[in-house]
């Protein structure tokens, strides 16, 4: 994947004619396998833009910083990232007319974090892996679902087998086995909140985990507080996760967060579906669990 030249052309055009105030894309870091988010604000900065095989970050998350502003923003999105934009629009986080969406079809990207790790000496590897990022092997949406301008040829999804197969296995476990399983996953969490920060669906202005009056979730790295953090985070993702896989990718202790997210995706689909978050933007349409009606079923209360 390499859209660098085309995106530079578009960025220069948009900045020059004043159509946008900034262009969210990527630039190269220090190392060949390091591509990092970059915002170009002037035509001079356009030459720094790259969009290459390491452009993995879901940039839609960065729009949140500008939600209270008036700037017009051009943003480059892959298929998975574009679903994040739909989510932000559905949640009224940013107005559609402030955005110029440059969609790129994606045949999979590599993970700079994995490459950094494997080349750094912090991981024992025979030979660094050079293939697609783990999250891309199970790609559902390689083509952008919303855009003003589209680059690239249509791609076919790579996610083959049933993405809920592992969930079904875990559902079959006994309650005790399941507890042990999740205990082993969450006991290693260091509570750095990278999963929350990388997530476009986590767009609450004040996060429950930052609340102090009252403090809903304790700050100890104990199994109970860790469980509380992860279960609350996951529940809040119900109907919102767009499966961009960024949470799992950035986790410094390799917690398989998508496993938990997928359980919620499956449940929402079964209870309210068929439903896939962020697949299509229809103005005024609300996703499941985001509206209140007086006749909502409440027999579980």
């Amino acid at each position: 994947m390499n859209y660098t030249e085309k995106i530079r052309e578009i960025a220069a055009r948009l900045l020059e004619n004043g159509q946008v105030d900034m262009v969210m894309a990527w630039e190269k870091g220090d190392l060949e396998y390091q591509t990092i988010p970059f915002i170009a604000r002037t035509v001079d900065e356009v030459s720094r833009i790259v969009c290459d095989e390491y452009s993995i970050h879901n940039l839609s998350n960065y729009l949140l910083r500008y939600r209270d502003g008036k700037e017009k923003i051009a943003i480059v999105v892959k298929g998975c990232d574009s679903r994040g934009i739909v989510r932000l629009l559905e949640d009224n986080q940013i107005a559609r007319d402030r955005l110029y969406i440059i969609g790129i079809t994606c045949d999979g990207v590599k993970d700079p974090l994995r490459a950094m790790r494997q080349h750094s000496g912090f991981e024992k590897v025979e030979k660094p892996e050079d293939g697609l990022a783990a999250k891309c092997l199970d790609c559902r949406q390689p083509n952008p679902v919303i855009y003003d301008e589209l680059l690239g040829e249509e791609q076919t999804p790579r996610g083959g087998e049933d993405r809920f197969a592992r969930i079904a296995e875990i559902e079959q476990m006994s309650a005790d086995e399941r507890y042990k399983f999740f205990e082993s996953l969450f006991s290693t969490c260091i509570r750095c909140y990278a999963c929350r920060q990388a997530c476009v669906a986590c767009n609450c202005r004040t996060c429950i985990f930052d609340e102090t009056r009252p403090q809903w979730v304790g700050r100890e790295t104990s199994i109970s507080d860790n469980f509380m953090y992860h279960l609350v985070r996951a529940s809040h993702m119900a109907g919102r996760c767009v499966e961009c896989g960024e949470c799992e990718r950035v986790c410094p202790v390799n917690i398989p967060l998508m496993l938990v997210n997928r359980k919620l995706i499956k449940d929402v689909n079964e209870f309210f579906g068929p439903y896939e978050a962020g697949m299509e933007y229809v103005e005024g349409r609300k996703p499941p669990l985001s509206v209140y009606r007086e006749n909502d079923p409440d027999d579980f209360l």
């Binding site: 870091g29 991981e123 990278a194």
Partner: protein
């Protein structure tokens, strides 16, 4: 020279673990960090003295991420405080690299000097013996030498292990080190061996004068620019061997509870949230700037050295690709404040 042969490492660990909790670098599941040898599971864990470094530094051995301070309960009109210190077991950190030893030296400066001694810290620190693993082969993102660390001769080490062809040269530095060596003396062998030469550093940075220059760079546009990719998560602060900020919090159930301290991160909103609702570091830029000014200016002003040991962890793990080397370079090249 006294040499610990590769084949005898596990015997040494077993022996030492009888007297102390021994923390060693391991691969546990998919994570690398310092874990107690007593919890080593042959089928699941891998001992990793031969890796450059592990993700999670041994900082938590001296400064646990969560630490109980005291319990309390109400009885009638009285509040009973149970402040009895928990029993601290002797601990050995074995296989720690120079960068992380420097991290401990910094923690010592913070918690034990300048007129205040943190009792919780001191109780742990006094019972810790450091067996360092000299580093002759710096990694892609290592720059410890540029931050004043000697990769092969860590200052605060009680013993230094030096990897050679057949094992490790056992280089005892302090009395604490001698005491530990006594327990395993029969497992060491006398042998003349040749040490490896220190390989070249791939990364270099010039910190000279940076703290001074930063005084005039509080409003520099670089903070805006470099903080843009920062997601304000706490990975860098929690994996850093020197970040020591903590919070003191409380948990209560009915009439009893306990107070504990836990790591905090300057990258979190809650860190500077004030009682009246104001937050002086609302956005990424302010938090980001504070983190680097603390590391590169404030700490140097107070303790004479930067709060960075060049271990390279933050460079490797940052999801946004934030790079402290680039920040130092930028300050170095800046015209302002010169």
């Amino acid at each position: 020279m006294k040499v610990l042969k590769f084949g005898k490492i596990e015997q040494v660990l077993d022996r030492l673990a009888q007297q102390a909790e021994v923390y060693v670098p391991m691969l546990r599941g998919q994570q690398t960090g310092f874990y107690s040898w007593n919890t080593y599971d042959e089928g699941y864990d891998d001992l990793m003295f031969d890796i450059l470094n592990v993700y999670q530094s041994p900082k938590h051995v001296i400064l646990p991420q969560t630490e109980m301070m005291y319990r309390f309960r109400q009885e009638g009109q009285d509040v009973i405080i149970d402040a009895e210190a928990q029993e601290i077991t002797p601990k050995i950190i074995m296989g720690i690299r120079s960068c992380d030893v420097r991290g401990i030296e910094h923690l010592d400066a913070v918690f034990l000097t300048k007129g205040y001694v943190d009792e919780f810290y001191k109780a742990r620190r006094d019972k810790i013996t450091i067996i360092a693993n000299a580093c002759y082969n710096p990694g892609t993102n290592c720059f410890c030498a540029s931050m004043g660390v000697n990769p092969t001769d860590p200052e605060a080490a009680d013993i230094i292990m030096r990897e050679v062809e057949v094992g490790y040269v056992w280089d005892v530095k302090t009395e604490k080190g001698q005491a530990v060596t006594k327990q395993i003396e029969d497992l060491l062998e006398e042998e003349e061996v040749e040490l490896f030469p220190l390989k070249r550093f791939l990364r270099k940075v010039d910190y000279e004068g940076v703290a001074e220059k930063l005084k005039d760079m509080f409003d520099d546009p670089m903070w805006e620019k470099y903080s843009e990719p920062c997601q304000t998560c706490g990975i860098c602060t929690y994996l850093c061997p020197t970040c020591y900020c903590f919070d003191i919090q409380v948990k209560t159930w009915g009439e009893e509870g306990y107070r504990f301290r836990c790591w905090d991160s300057c990258m979190y909103r809650e860190y500077t949230q004030m009682a009246g609702g104001h937050n002086p570091r609302e956005a990424a830029k302010e938090r980001f700037r504070n983190r680097f000014l603390h590391k590169l200016q404030f700490f140097t002003e107070r303790y004479g050295q930067p709060l960075c040991t060049g271990c390279g962890r933050c460079v490797v793990v940052c999801p946004g690709g934030v790079n402290i080397i680039k920040i130092i370079d930028t300050v170095k090249e800046a015209k302002t404040g010169a």
